[in-house]
Amino acid sequence: MRLTRRYRFSASHRLHSDRFDPAENERIYGKCNNPFGHGHDYVLEVSVRGALDERTGRIVDLEVLDGLVNAQVISRFEHKNLNRELGAFEATIPTTENLAIEIRRGLQQAWHPAFGANGPAIERIRLEETKRNSIELQ
Protein backbone atom coordinates (compact mmCIF):
# COMPACT_ATOMS: atom_id res chain seq x y z
CA MET A 1 0.00 0.00 0.00
CA ARG A 2 1.11 3.52 -0.67
CA LEU A 3 0.43 6.50 1.54
CA THR A 4 0.88 10.06 0.34
CA ARG A 5 1.18 13.10 2.53
CA ARG A 6 1.12 16.70 1.27
CA TYR A 7 3.24 19.49 2.76
CA ARG A 8 3.54 23.16 1.94
CA PHE A 9 6.27 25.76 2.08
CA SER A 10 6.77 29.18 0.56
CA ALA A 11 10.07 30.38 -0.82
CA SER A 12 11.54 32.83 -3.29
CA HIS A 13 14.00 32.24 -6.07
CA ARG A 14 15.44 33.61 -9.26
CA LEU A 15 16.30 31.55 -12.31
CA HIS A 16 19.53 32.86 -13.74
CA SER A 17 22.74 31.29 -15.00
CA ASP A 18 26.11 33.03 -15.19
CA ARG A 19 26.85 30.82 -18.19
CA PHE A 20 24.47 32.88 -20.31
CA ASP A 21 24.43 36.56 -21.16
CA PRO A 22 21.52 38.74 -19.96
CA ALA A 23 19.60 38.40 -23.21
CA GLU A 24 19.97 34.61 -23.19
CA ASN A 25 18.90 34.41 -19.53
CA GLU A 26 15.84 36.47 -20.36
CA ARG A 27 15.07 34.24 -23.32
CA ILE A 28 15.46 30.97 -21.36
CA TYR A 29 13.88 31.89 -18.04
CA GLY A 30 11.50 34.70 -19.02
CA LYS A 31 9.77 36.34 -16.04
CA CYS A 32 11.61 33.96 -13.68
CA ASN A 33 14.81 35.86 -14.54
CA ASN A 34 13.59 39.05 -12.84
CA PRO A 35 16.70 40.23 -10.92
CA PHE A 36 14.72 40.86 -7.73
CA GLY A 37 13.39 37.30 -7.64
CA HIS A 38 9.86 36.13 -6.95
CA GLY A 39 8.18 33.46 -4.83
CA HIS A 40 5.88 30.46 -4.84
CA ASP A 41 3.72 28.48 -2.46
CA TYR A 42 5.21 25.07 -3.08
CA VAL A 43 3.28 21.88 -2.42
CA LEU A 44 5.28 18.72 -1.79
CA GLU A 45 3.78 15.25 -1.95
CA VAL A 46 5.76 12.45 -0.34
CA SER A 47 4.59 8.92 -1.19
CA VAL A 48 5.61 6.05 1.05
CA ARG A 49 5.24 2.35 0.31
CA GLY A 50 4.99 -0.11 3.14
CA ALA A 51 3.27 -3.17 4.51
CA LEU A 52 0.19 -2.73 6.66
CA ASP A 53 0.95 -3.28 10.34
CA GLU A 54 -2.01 -5.44 11.34
CA ARG A 55 -1.92 -4.30 14.93
CA THR A 56 -1.91 -0.55 14.35
CA GLY A 57 -3.55 -0.41 10.93
CA ARG A 58 -0.77 1.86 9.68
CA ILE A 59 1.95 1.52 7.06
CA VAL A 60 4.04 4.41 8.38
CA ASP A 61 4.32 6.34 11.61
CA LEU A 62 3.01 9.75 10.53
CA GLU A 63 4.73 11.51 13.39
CA VAL A 64 8.12 10.19 12.24
CA LEU A 65 7.33 11.07 8.61
CA ASP A 66 6.21 14.60 9.50
CA GLY A 67 9.26 15.06 11.71
CA LEU A 68 11.59 13.95 8.94
CA VAL A 69 9.97 16.15 6.28
CA ASN A 70 9.92 19.11 8.64
CA ALA A 71 13.60 18.68 9.48
CA GLN A 72 14.80 17.96 5.94
CA VAL A 73 12.51 20.19 3.90
CA ILE A 74 10.17 22.62 5.63
CA SER A 75 12.56 24.07 8.17
CA ARG A 76 15.26 24.45 5.49
CA PHE A 77 13.15 26.12 2.83
CA GLU A 78 10.19 27.80 4.54
CA HIS A 79 10.19 31.54 3.82
CA LYS A 80 13.71 31.44 2.48
CA ASN A 81 15.39 32.89 -0.56
CA LEU A 82 16.58 29.69 -2.22
CA ASN A 83 19.42 31.34 -4.16
CA ARG A 84 20.87 33.29 -1.29
CA GLU A 85 20.25 31.26 1.82
CA LEU A 86 20.91 27.68 0.78
CA GLY A 87 24.33 26.43 -0.20
CA ALA A 88 22.66 23.87 -2.45
CA PHE A 89 21.65 26.59 -4.92
CA GLU A 90 24.82 28.63 -5.03
CA ALA A 91 25.96 26.82 -8.15
CA THR A 92 22.69 25.09 -9.08
CA ILE A 93 19.70 26.90 -10.56
CA PRO A 94 16.69 26.50 -8.22
CA THR A 95 14.31 25.29 -10.89
CA THR A 96 11.49 23.03 -9.68
CA GLU A 97 13.46 20.13 -11.16
CA ASN A 98 16.59 20.90 -9.15
CA LEU A 99 14.61 21.71 -6.02
CA ALA A 100 12.84 18.34 -6.26
CA ILE A 101 16.21 16.57 -6.65
CA GLU A 102 17.58 18.39 -3.61
CA ILE A 103 14.47 17.52 -1.58
CA ARG A 104 14.71 13.86 -2.53
CA ARG A 105 18.41 13.83 -1.63
CA GLY A 106 17.67 15.25 1.81
CA LEU A 107 14.83 12.81 2.46
CA GLN A 108 16.83 9.78 1.28
CA GLN A 109 19.79 10.76 3.44
CA ALA A 110 17.68 10.84 6.61
CA TRP A 111 15.25 8.04 5.68
CA HIS A 112 17.02 4.95 7.02
CA PRO A 113 18.11 6.52 10.30
CA ALA A 114 14.47 7.52 10.87
CA PHE A 115 12.67 4.36 9.77
CA GLY A 116 15.27 1.59 9.98
CA ALA A 117 16.21 -0.98 7.36
CA ASN A 118 12.86 -2.84 7.48
CA GLY A 119 10.67 0.25 7.55
CA PRO A 120 8.57 1.78 4.80
CA ALA A 121 10.29 3.04 1.64
CA ILE A 122 10.08 6.41 -0.04
CA GLU A 123 8.53 5.70 -3.44
CA ARG A 124 7.93 9.04 -5.08
CA ILE A 125 7.94 12.75 -4.51
CA ARG A 126 5.94 15.30 -6.43
CA LEU A 127 6.65 19.00 -6.17
CA GLU A 128 4.17 21.63 -7.33
CA GLU A 129 5.64 25.03 -7.99
CA THR A 130 2.18 26.32 -8.85
CA LYS A 131 -1.08 24.50 -9.50
CA ARG A 132 -0.14 24.51 -13.16
CA ASN A 133 3.24 22.85 -13.00
CA SER A 134 4.78 20.03 -11.05
CA ILE A 135 7.71 17.66 -11.07
CA GLU A 136 7.51 14.00 -10.15
CA LEU A 137 10.48 11.85 -9.17
CA GLN A 138 10.20 8.10 -8.61
Binding site: M1, G57, D61
Partner: protein, 136 residues
Protein backbone atom coordinates in the same frame (compact mmCIF):
# COMPACT_ATOMS: atom_id res chain seq x y z
CA UNK B 1 -7.69 1.72 -20.21
CA UNK B 2 -8.23 3.12 -16.73
CA UNK B 3 -11.50 4.72 -15.70
CA UNK B 4 -11.90 6.52 -12.39
CA UNK B 5 -15.00 7.62 -10.52
CA UNK B 6 -14.97 9.84 -7.47
CA UNK B 7 -17.44 9.89 -4.60
CA UNK B 8 -17.30 11.41 -1.16
CA UNK B 9 -18.65 10.66 2.26
CA UNK B 10 -18.28 12.21 5.68
CA UNK B 11 -17.78 10.12 8.76
CA UNK B 12 -16.37 10.25 12.24
CA UNK B 13 -13.87 7.88 13.75
CA UNK B 14 -11.45 7.43 16.58
CA UNK B 15 -8.09 5.71 16.26
CA UNK B 16 -7.38 3.77 19.42
CA UNK B 17 -6.10 0.28 20.07
CA UNK B 18 -8.16 -1.68 22.55
CA UNK B 19 -6.00 -2.56 25.50
CA UNK B 20 -3.34 0.06 24.81
CA UNK B 21 -2.69 2.90 27.25
CA UNK B 22 -3.65 6.52 26.58
CA UNK B 23 0.04 7.27 26.18
CA UNK B 24 0.60 4.58 23.58
CA UNK B 25 -2.54 5.54 21.66
CA UNK B 26 -1.47 9.19 21.53
CA UNK B 27 2.00 8.15 20.41
CA UNK B 28 0.54 5.94 17.66
CA UNK B 29 -2.30 8.12 16.40
CA UNK B 30 -1.74 11.65 17.72
CA UNK B 31 -4.87 13.79 17.80
CA UNK B 32 -6.83 11.00 16.12
CA UNK B 33 -6.72 9.11 19.44
CA UNK B 34 -9.14 11.57 21.08
CA UNK B 35 -11.67 9.13 22.59
CA UNK B 36 -14.63 11.34 21.70
CA UNK B 37 -13.88 10.97 18.00
CA UNK B 38 -13.62 13.46 15.16
CA UNK B 39 -14.60 13.50 11.51
CA UNK B 40 -13.37 13.83 7.96
CA UNK B 41 -14.75 14.51 4.51
CA UNK B 42 -13.41 11.41 2.82
CA UNK B 43 -12.94 11.40 -0.94
CA UNK B 44 -12.82 8.05 -2.69
CA UNK B 45 -11.45 7.55 -6.19
CA UNK B 46 -12.14 4.13 -7.62
CA UNK B 47 -10.20 3.10 -10.71
CA UNK B 48 -11.24 0.25 -13.00
CA UNK B 49 -9.15 -1.27 -15.76
CA UNK B 50 -10.53 -2.78 -18.93
CA UNK B 51 -11.11 -2.27 -22.63
CA UNK B 52 -14.07 -0.37 -24.01
CA UNK B 53 -16.92 -2.64 -25.12
CA UNK B 54 -17.01 -2.37 -28.95
CA UNK B 55 -20.79 -1.94 -28.93
CA UNK B 56 -21.23 0.58 -26.09
CA UNK B 57 -17.81 2.26 -26.18
CA UNK B 58 -17.68 1.93 -22.41
CA UNK B 59 -15.30 0.09 -20.08
CA UNK B 60 -18.03 -0.15 -17.48
CA UNK B 61 -21.48 1.38 -17.09
CA UNK B 62 -20.83 4.45 -14.94
CA UNK B 63 -24.40 4.45 -13.68
CA UNK B 64 -23.92 0.89 -12.46
CA UNK B 65 -20.58 1.89 -10.90
CA UNK B 66 -22.27 4.77 -9.12
CA UNK B 67 -24.91 2.38 -7.75
CA UNK B 68 -22.26 -0.05 -6.49
CA UNK B 69 -20.30 2.75 -4.81
CA UNK B 70 -23.43 4.11 -3.18
CA UNK B 71 -24.59 0.72 -1.96
CA UNK B 72 -21.25 -0.58 -0.72
CA UNK B 73 -19.59 2.59 0.57
CA UNK B 74 -21.60 5.79 0.68
CA UNK B 75 -24.84 4.49 2.20
CA UNK B 76 -23.16 2.41 4.93
CA UNK B 77 -20.48 4.99 5.80
CA UNK B 78 -21.79 8.49 5.09
CA UNK B 79 -22.61 10.43 8.26
CA UNK B 80 -21.75 7.43 10.42
CA UNK B 81 -19.38 6.90 13.31
CA UNK B 82 -17.20 4.20 11.78
CA UNK B 83 -16.15 2.57 15.06
CA UNK B 84 -19.72 2.17 16.32
CA UNK B 85 -21.76 1.70 13.19
CA UNK B 86 -19.65 0.15 10.42
CA UNK B 87 -18.14 -3.31 10.94
CA UNK B 88 -15.30 -4.35 10.95
CA UNK B 89 -14.28 -1.06 12.60
CA UNK B 90 -15.77 -2.18 15.90
CA UNK B 91 -12.62 -4.31 16.20
CA UNK B 92 -10.27 -2.84 13.56
CA UNK B 93 -8.80 0.65 13.96
CA UNK B 94 -10.34 2.82 11.20
CA UNK B 95 -7.08 4.31 9.96
CA UNK B 96 -7.21 5.56 6.40
CA UNK B 97 -5.22 2.44 5.45
CA UNK B 98 -7.76 0.06 7.00
CA UNK B 99 -10.74 1.94 5.57
CA UNK B 100 -9.19 1.70 2.09
CA UNK B 101 -8.64 -2.05 2.47
CA UNK B 102 -12.25 -2.51 3.63
CA UNK B 103 -13.55 -0.50 0.66
CA UNK B 104 -11.46 -2.66 -1.67
CA UNK B 105 -12.86 -5.81 -0.05
CA UNK B 106 -16.44 -4.57 -0.55
CA UNK B 107 -15.96 -3.44 -4.15
CA UNK B 108 -13.66 -6.02 -5.68
CA UNK B 109 -16.25 -8.85 -6.18
CA UNK B 110 -18.43 -6.56 -8.33
CA UNK B 111 -15.98 -6.42 -11.22
CA UNK B 112 -15.59 -9.44 -13.47
CA UNK B 113 -15.52 -10.33 -17.17
CA UNK B 114 -12.61 -8.27 -18.43
CA UNK B 115 -13.01 -5.42 -15.97
CA UNK B 116 -11.03 -5.37 -12.79
CA UNK B 117 -10.72 -3.08 -9.82
CA UNK B 118 -7.30 -1.51 -10.36
CA UNK B 119 -6.96 0.98 -7.51
CA UNK B 120 -8.73 2.50 -4.54
CA UNK B 121 -7.51 5.94 -3.57
CA UNK B 122 -8.93 7.24 -0.32
CA UNK B 123 -8.33 10.80 0.85
CA UNK B 124 -8.84 11.28 4.57
CA UNK B 125 -7.97 14.94 4.10
CA UNK B 126 -6.63 16.89 1.15
CA UNK B 127 -3.16 16.29 2.59
CA UNK B 128 -3.34 12.59 3.40
CA UNK B 129 -4.36 9.74 1.13
CA UNK B 130 -3.58 6.11 0.40
CA UNK B 131 -3.55 4.04 -2.78
CA UNK B 132 -4.45 0.39 -2.44
CA UNK B 133 -4.41 -2.12 -5.29
CA UNK B 134 -5.25 -5.28 -3.37
CA UNK B 135 -1.69 -6.20 -2.45
CA UNK B 136 -1.19 -8.31 0.65
Amino acid sequence: MLITRRVDFSASHVCRLHGASDEENCALYGLAANPHGHGHNYILEVTLEGDPDPATGMVFDLKQLKDVLNREVVEPMDHRFLNYEVPPFDRLVPTVENVAVEIWRRLEPHFRDGVRLANVRLYETEDLFVDYAGER
